[in-house]
Point group: C2
Chain length 271, copies 2
Amino acid sequence: MADSVACAEAIAAFGREHGEVFEVWIEVDVDGHRSGIAPEDDLLIAVGKVLQAGGMHVGGVLAHAGSSYEYDTHEALVRVAEQERSGCVRAADRLRREDVPCEVVSIGSTPTSLAAEHLEGVTEVRAGVYVMFDLVMHNVGVNGMSDIALSVLTTVIGHQEEKGWAIVDAGWMAMSRDRGTQRQKRDFGYGLVCSENGEVRGDYVMSGANQEHGIISRTGEPDREIVRRFPIGTRLRILPNHACATGAQHPVYQALAGDGTVETWPRFYGW
Amino acid sequence: MADSVACAEAIAAFGREHGEVFEVWIEVDVDGHRSGIAPEDDLLIAVGKVLQAGGMHVGGVLAHAGSSYEYDTHEALVRVAEQERSGCVRAADRLRREDVPCEVVSIGSTPTSLAAEHLEGVTEVRAGVYVMFDLVMHNVGVNGMSDIALSVLTTVIGHQEEKGWAIVDAGWMAMSRDRGTQRQKRDFGYGLVCSENGEVRGDYVMSGANQEHGIISRTGEPDREIVRRFPIGTRLRILPNHACATGAQHPVYQALAGDGTVETWPRFYGW
């Protein structure tokens, strides 16, 4: 990030030119996963000072411990959560000690937000998939299967009996192309099959997906009884690998209340 | 498809019950790739007869030679195209010989629609990605790089200089999770990098993608000059692996006319 200082200078120059005081947050790299400035890096202070001297307002620091997705034990998640918390708090403390105000200390990631033993010094937790959960998070050890709140409702439209396939009218355009469980401890294909009322149906997954078609089959030995098990017209619910990606394939959520009523919730595009 | 006859019976019964004559098309399996009834299968006639006897209208047959995506030579595509055409026409002929009317003979798939040497007996060609083209189709040998009409415009927002990375503000939520080139002759990661005006920038690809961030790097040896090559603020266009999947991540297309004017085209959700 050798150009972070140049970038901060450019932001400040642009703000001054337009008579604006921008509120700027500095991203902290707590795990070497993607981007940001490491908590102990001198660059952190240099960027904060340049923004402040340029008349901008340093509003806070933020981090996202993306590496937490790579673990699957509670102990490891507790460790990453503490690394995220302490790194982000440390960055804020270093800025404050140099008289750069830094009000917000914001951390994220669903696994760490649930595993953190305490949040001392943190002022904001941003967690996303947290509200829905999914199969990736299940593999990480974050949620139970019955905690997953998002599913895609689909209908069986055909079979390839000799292959043990049921064909459904939802493919990757409905599920997304996210194969997040592919390298995890259990690969769920494009999703795990439940009955219409949400009960997991053993080892059936969406093992393959074309744009508008999904292939339902049993993990391991093909099910020669699939035509009788899931006849044409059977409605199935598919739990997603990654709720964020699956949600983004649809314009609205159909939200089911406990009493069975359905509300339509619009969702926004983009990021 | 042992239950195809039962399904045809159910359609006919439902239609009669509601006083409707449904127009039904029969899917033909021309390459054993996914679903449909093989052209020579007795089931084809059985299904057609059941629909007709039940008072429904057999409107046509349709096929999609999905296996064409697996090839990358013109000769192979010509062969698959002819297999798709002849199989679908054969199915229609067999139905007609049994006095089951079958007006439409519909085939699909972008590679075969462009490779077909003739379309005798075909009444409709359904080709999708055909209108945009993409890197998957480039690898199949269907289109040149400059034929790709869809790209995602993004901005460089940071770097990891020692890794040779530029970070951009478009991740898989902008590109889709489609990694269709992964097992093809050239793997383009999440897309190929072009300058803002559409020129391919050598061997730079979106080598990794998080939800809202993309990682741009050079294939092979890391580019230690990446900060100077693509400074913060640089706008890049990313060509997609799969135009259908990338388009579906966005609510509208920004269509650029030859004279530089931009029109906004809405796109529909779903399938």
